[in-house]
Assembly symmetry: C2
Homo-oligomer: 402 residues x 2
């Protein structure tokens, strides 16, 4: 599979990178000044984007002036010359007829074309706006907090990028069987809406007519919360099952007070519903145990139980943990990223017994311009020089250069 | 494709439902008392789980006592009798050797087996614990807030479920070409870690040695924030590009004060970095414009611009919007869910020109037990009665029955 990607920001680059991790050859087509996200924060001191590098690992980059006829012809030729059964175009660019399914399938009849959009009517939307409109910021954050709380993780972009990769994979399976291409679309706003529906948030409002309230770090309908240790260390502790619950009572030694509460309140804490109903009372009791002990002692005590728990970490602490013997993770490896240097980077969390995978660095902008023009389009050295001279193509470009 | 799903909670059911939306036949194998999430909140008054119904749309349900040899034999036979090139087992159940790839591929050599885990070493983890350990709760929420802020959206479960569906699709494409099955694994903790890496959060800590701070509802490295109108209405407004920025100055009439600031501060607000650096000052100016106008007037004014924006809605308001002429969305349709009744439910946000798709209700527990035993395993009416009598199988079961 050969993926021609014209992309920016999170969803489309993640979709392309995911396909690369499944074995596809992915060619980013980058405009001469880089895509709109080429300098998105966080940046290194020298100005390279850690964000961009993270989302474009394992791809090749062809720099092309997509505003010029010559540049557009190169992209079209790249699609047209894909061997049968391999061509994929993946883009979040809208309003570019020359990049549309109709135009490109005319030169590549079995093309799979994936269009990522803000909304399915073509109008713009980004992760932070679709998150606002679907309802989650109004139920996130401390109980009683009056303002919406945005997420920092662009969860809708992530889901949208994975859907795009899935769309390519499903269409490719059909193409292998029928020889036919397909036109695939996924809109960020639809992804958010579908998940709010799938998880019952919309139905709760419509069927139950319930307005969900903020409940801080508690788990809705179950028993889970963050707890603070005597040295300030914090943990998230989740008791989903009866066994978890019994282990929580056991490890904290709160059997007796909890039983006394149960009797006096006529509650049944073996049932999740009652644990949720009285969550503050119960958490208050357990918190006394956590507050009496430093983090290390708490972790040691919880390790022997069935409870599901984890310390809260900052990103820096997460990196430190990865570098420790306890925290080493086989999906992380050190890659030497041009412009940035060696650092820990993830491979794919999805693993196949049939195909091991290692992380690869992202390209420099235009790193593969010459190779792609020569090897894939068969252009001569003179023709390639001419295209550079006419500023129809460019690269390689070190982003950190002045 | 025929997916045999033994699942609970979010990731695995979502993975199976996503495959169903791509055309697979999905059979849930439910234990006699339902899986651990069968009564997860939100519940209707009659006790049916809106959450469970949302994540199991379009599947069939076979109720089987998986603790009995007879029940396990039914599941094994169901896998063994799948036509060549169709069998998929998808599960998040761990510690069940009879459900493992090794056991089941012995009776179905081209099986695709997808195991969803908490951690890749088989130890447990859930969305809320992997979120805590990877770093996001420490940077989410209002600036200056001291406590971790958990997300309400189980973003890691969602990503993990989509990865699982993608793993099936990729393995099925390989199986169609080679005839070979595959063993696919994805761990929730790895998904969170990979995304924290892909988005540059880990590299920022490691390469830049920067500890990211909470910045409330601002967008890191750009200009975006929530604004409040005179009637209390709130909007998220995002200015990513130069054109967005110019439109924001234009619509709010803040050209002059912003230019004066720019000069006196020696800043260049045509550059994202400076807009982020002085975000509070700039947002303070714009907020004055929003505070002077009711929501309707603000929305009307923003509609003519290039800006990306959206009102904040509660889930209830999101449903109301869907029911309005402005907000109707073709991926949403009314389904009549047994035990729950008619309500708006999403189809797939991923669309293919080759294959339209409509949402279907979730099954009752064990709704298809008899049909699957008779049609797929070829059992006689007497044999099926015997299995019911021995409590090796059950269903259909109305969850809201007393």
């Amino acid at each position: 599979m050969r993926v021609i990607e014209v992309s920016s920001f999170v969803a489309a680059p993640l979709g392309g990178m995911t396909l690369s991790q499944l074995g596809a050859e992915v060619i980013r087509v980058d405009p001469l000044d880089g895509a709109a996200d080429t300098r998105r924060w966080p940046l290194t001191k020298s100005g390279a984007s850690l964000y961009w590098a993270g989302l474009n690992k394992g791809k090749r980059s062809l720099m092309v002036n997509m505003r010029s006829d010559a540049g557009r012809a190169i992209v079209r030729d790249l699609v047209a010359t894909c061997p049968a059964g391999t061509a994929v175009v993946l883009t979040n660019a809208v309003g570019r007829p020359w990049l549309s399914y109709d135009e490109l399938s005319a030169v590549c009849p079995d093309l799979i074309h994936v269009q990522i959009e803000g909304r399915s009517d073509g109008s713009p939307a980004v992760d932070y706006t679709v998150n606002a409109e679907v309802g989650f910021p109004m139920v996130t954050g401390p109980a009683g907090h009056g303002d919406p709380v945005n997420h920092v993780l662009p969860a809708w972009d992530i889901a949208c990028g994975l859907y795009a990769a899935l769309g390519v994979s499903a269409a490719a399976r059909r193409r292998a069987a029928t020889g036919e291409g397909d036109q695939v679309r996924v809109a960020l706003a639809d992804v958010a809406l579908a998940m709010a529906g799938n998880l019952g948030f919309l139905a709760e409002a419509q069927v139950n007519n319930v307005q969900r309230q903020r409940i801080g770090n508690y788990l809705y309908g179950g028993f889970a919360r963050d707890f603070t240790c005597s040295d300030g260390g914090r943990l998230m502790v989740v008791a989903l099952t009866g066994r978890h619950w019994r282990d929580l009572l056991e490890v904290t030694g709160m059997h007796k007070p909890v039983a006394a509460l149960e009797e006096s309140l006529r509650a049944d804490f073996s049932v999740e519903d009652d644990r949720f109903e009285y969550r503050e009372v119960l958490a208050g009791l357990f918190q006394r145990w956590f507050a009496d002990r430093p983090m290390a002692e708490v972790c040691h005590a919880l390790t022997g139980t069935s409870l599901v728990w984890s310390p809260y970490r900052s990103f820096g602490q997460a990196v430190q943990h990865l570098q420790s013997s306890d925290g080493a993770n086989p999906i992380m490896s050190i890659i030497d990223q041009p412009d940035i240097g060696p650092h820990l980077a993830p491979g794919s969390p999805l693993t196949f017994a049939s195909a091991p995978f290692d992380a690869e660095p992202a390209p420099l902008l235009g790193q593969h311009t010459r190779a792609i023009l020569a090897d894939d389009l068969g252009l001569s050295a003179e023709e390639i020089e001419g295209l550079h001279r006419d500023k129809a193509v460019a690269g390689p470009l070190r982003r950190s250069s002045p």
